[in-house]
Amino acid sequence: MRYHYFPGCTLKGQAKNMESTTMAAAAALGIELVELEEWQCCGAVYPLYEDELITLLSPVRTLAAAKGEPLVSLCAACHHVLKRAQELMQRNEEARKKVTDYLEVDYAGEGRVLHFLEVLRDDLGFDKLAEMVKKPLEGRKVAAYYGCLLLRPSKVMQFDDPENPTIMEDLLKAIGADVVKSPYRTECCGAYLSVTEEAVAEDTVTRIIDSARNAGAEALITACPLCRYNLENCASEDGKEPIKVYYFSELLAEAMGLQFDQLMTSALERRRSSDGNK
């Protein structure tokens, strides 16, 4: 299984360990992720204003670079932007013409745009994954936190049931963890409000964490660097039992029996390809 891979800025910065753990786990699972050459930032937010075509240039260039072949990303925001840009290219001929003419590329919305979780579910299969797990995370009580960007708008993202998703719980099951379901797992963490409106983020994040804790979780997994930042930094936690936040890939790599050293090495190996980007 070979895929084009779009890392995005955060995975080369604050979220390096999401990339390194994914790369290591993917290799162990026989999934090859080939980083696109000379990729650019996706823009981080999908433009909801229809005449903001300029912000579509970068994601469409990325989509075109995949040449119609499957394109995988890890960061929820990158995946959201790419997927929605693809849908716009399929739906809106005028926008497509303007953008592709400007970029001088030929792109009409073709190719699968996948989040790595979808690769695990749809292409590899969680059953197969479960068989390949070397160190099941027995007894670890983990809850999934989905956030917004992977799920909504569900008509476009087509990732999972937007109100009652199961993909991350299925992953946790496959790697042997004890799944804890928290009712707040699809509520927004406050996203970039943590930059400007910390009080809001504190409110949303505290609810999410408390809900997971009350449900019996010791840890949370997420697929979004910003969610993770907020979950780790914004909750009011005075005196409560702490909850550890992981990227899903960290637990996946751990279940694949990959040691910290190995992860670091593979992270270092990946370094060279990230040079010269941005």
Binding site: G8, C9, A44, L48, Y49, D51, R152, T196, V200
Partner: protein
């Protein structure tokens, strides 16, 4: 207080977002679904009501469009199939384009924040609050 429902803000927002506030029947499900109402001075459904009635000046003063985190929960649950996240973005852009300069920039961040925040947050934030 303007009471005409044909204001520039509404017209431009409608054209750009493809959303017609008149399709809303004020069930307020968006407000019930919104995770960040605590800091808003107008609830999401009130923003639509103000759009319906053309209360443009009040909307210009409201912090609600700037609090909206574009989590799309309102749009996912709206029984009228309206995308309020798009309307909010519409209002923000109209305001930003009218305004001189940006609402928020790197200078507004502490060195500590710059060090710690994921790149994604910085890019998103600048995108949302800047021209």
């Amino acid at each position: 207080m303007a009471t005409s429902n044909k204001t520039r803000l509404v017209d431009e927002m409608k054209m750009q977002s493809g959303q017609d506030p008149n399709e809303c029947y004020q069930c307020a499900k968006c407000s019930a679904a919104c995770p960040v109402t605590a800091a808003m001075d107008l609830l999401p459904h009130q923003v639509i009501r103000y759009l319906q009635l053309g209360f443009e000046e009040d909307l210009a003063k409201s912090n609600t469009p700037w609090i909206c985190a574009s989590c799309f929960t309102c749009a996912a649950r709206c029984p009228r199939d309206l995308d309020l996240a798009r309307m909010m973005e519409g209002i923000r852009l109209v305001m930003l384009r009218r305004r001189e300069g940006n609402k928020f920039g790197p200078a507004d961040l502490t060195p500590e924040q710059l060090e710690k925040l994921p790149q994604q947050a910085l890019v998103s934030g600048f995108r949302k609050y800047n021209k």
